[in-house]
Amino acid sequence: MAERFDAIVVGAGPAGSAAALALAREKVSTLLVERGRAAGVKNMFGGRIYAWPLFDLIPGWEKDCPVERFVTREHMVFLSGEASLALEFESPHLASGKAASFTALRPKFDEWLAKKAEAAGATLITGIRVDELLRDGGRVHGIVAGPDRVEADLVILAEGAMAPLAQQAGLAPDLTPAAVSVGVKETIEVPAPVLQERLGLGDRDGAAFVYAGDVSGGARGGGFLYTNKASVSLGLVVSSEDVSRKKLAVPEIMERFRMHPSVQRLIKGGKVLEYSAHLVPELGLGMRARYVANGVLVVGDAAGFLINNGYTFRGVDLAIASGMAAARAAVGARTHGDYSARGLSLYERHLRELNVLTDMETFRAAPGYLKNERLFTLYPRLLLEIAEKVYTVDGSGKPKLSEIVFEEAKGKAPLLKLLRDVIDGARSM
């Protein structure tokens, strides 16, 4: 009982399912293999999905896509001790047209997208882990799963951040702590009417919060909070390097974050429904030297396609777009019957056309910039101390704002360093 497909996609996350869907539409016989019991059960994110690639991939996606809430309000919050300083941006345009973004729960969203791929003709198999690639002198020609082998002209690796097969194929270096962060999340039940009342939201609107400062307990990282229909996703992304170097306990950091008054105010009375964690690839373009090899393409988190520029996190949209780019490259390769790295080389061009590589390159310096510890400790603290002084009126004589700023910054943040950090920030983010 031998089996053969034109293309095998490893992993039915957003990147894999998008690739399989686009391939199936072009009548490329596609096997989509997922190790989880169902698509999405091994995935987790903050999180929010920027919807722009769905408009091309699935016209009419809004009709049955499991959207939690469309994000109409963005927050950036600095925490220090018990104090917080927040920026809030609201605009109805945020949720409209191609700029729309929505909060989602991965088991539901990933399952929806995988089923679309199946409906288009891809063979979706779940509960099977791919152990190895079939290689023949530098050319990949299939996969091995348990006792079985399946041949294909092309294997698309959509296997996620750990990327074991990409490592096997020499397309990715061994993961180091510096290359990944750990994301942890609590899904907290808050009934819809309560949530909407607390945040002043309509029944389809949602809010997204990004937290910096005391959040990450001395490690570089940040917190987030996203509103789902009747729950809240509250979590942290912290640098693995810092966690291991400083011997931090992530659950403790998470607990202190959730106890902050500005967070408690939103989740009070809520029951924790589940606790989950996931790796986040953090090096951007530094992650992977190559996404293309003979018979193989790498997409999504496995290729490191994730942008964290401090105020937005993008992963799912880049994953979906990279899946679409891979499918385009595969169809091109099929026309010439050439699945070598050269035949697949248009993948990179398609990644640019879809603005995946372009955006990754724009924010190429962000990961390096975000390794600056002052961003997570000194500057948020400084901001809050300034705010404290600014807003305290207790009859003891009020200085001007500029005096307060210079007084607080003096000795703590050398002016030159501060200016440098601001300029570097502007350049990289």
Partner: protein, 269 residues
């Protein structure tokens, strides 16, 4: 069927997952809807033994079950593990059948499939634990039966099986066709494979039959024609743990702990 191909029938039942059993307080029966299911573990052990025979010699494995269409989940898993085909006898009139109509209905289904050499069943189900159906089928088909077996060898066209007896094990030999019931936990059932799952996806491996398709007499099946009923299901409630904490200096705390244990009759000095 090429001669020399052993034709094995494995009877399986889909049961609620053992770790996640729930009793409906109103009807005093096991909740089956919305609770995760699995192949009855002894049946999975039987299937694994059949697959091991197929590893060693040409064999065809046909899986048979009786139940609602939700049982397809287990039949698909059995095919994905390596069984060749599956038949599900599914019909409303079978509802509420106890082991007597079940043994009758399954044996009629097996007769209709025909051409079998060996029938394997799990020793009993985890949700009813009667152990009746295997022997019942053997009775209807008038086959020799060997129960509680953990190993099978096919030697010179005969079956040799290792049987667990109260004080040890026995080896039995019998001619085919025959029926064996398989011990819980005697094998580690293999995982479904990728090629197996693709076969299932392609379709055509599971056939549904109604009682009319098989020629089953409606007056011999269903709740009305079941000689036994479930009178009551009791749930065992474990007493709450005492949770006493003994604080203080280790010597003192240990002395207090010891006193408490002696008082409770747990320890005697």
């Amino acid at each position: 069927m090429p001669s020399g191909t052993l034709r094995i029938i494995v009877c399986i039942k889909q049961v609620p997952k053992a770790q996640e059993l729930q009793v409906d307080p109103k009807t005093q029966t096991l909740k089956r809807v919305g609770v995760p299911s699995e192949i009855n573990p002894p049946d999975a052990n039987a299937l694994e033994l059949a697959l091991q025979i197929k590893d060693r010699q040409p064999a065809e494995i046909v899986v048979v079950s009786m139940g609602p269409t939700s049982f397809d989940e287990s039949l698909e898993r059995a095919v994905a593990m390596g069984a060749d085909r599956a038949f599900l006898l599914t019909d409303r009139i079978l509802g509420g059948s106890d082991t007597v109509p079940t043994a009758y209905a399954l044996s009629e289904t097996i007769r209709k499939i025909g051409g079998y050499d060996l029938i394997l069943c799990g020793e009993e189900t985890t949700d009813a634990s009667t152990g009746h159906v295997g022997p019942g089928i053997a009775g209807h088909l008038d086959f020799p039966q060997i129960t509680y077996i953990s190993e099978i060898k096919i030697v010179d066209g005969k079956v040799r099986a290792r049987r667990t007896a109260e004080d040890g094990t026995e080896w039995w030999e019998t001619a085919m066709p025959c029926l064996l019931t398989v011990n819980f936990g005697c094998t580690k059932p293999r995982d479904p494979t990728l090629l197996g799952k693709i076969r299932v996806k392609r379709g055509g491996v599971i056939v549904h039959w109604s009682c009319a398709d098989v020629g089953i007499d409606p007056n011999k099946v269903g709740l009305k024609n079941s000689p036994t009923i479930v009178a009551k299901v009791d749930t065992v409630h474990l007493p709450a743990r005492a949770r006493k904490v003994f604080q203080g200096e280790p010597r003192e705390a240990v002395a207090q702990l010891l006193d408490a244990l002696i008082e409770d009759g747990v320890v005697a000095l």
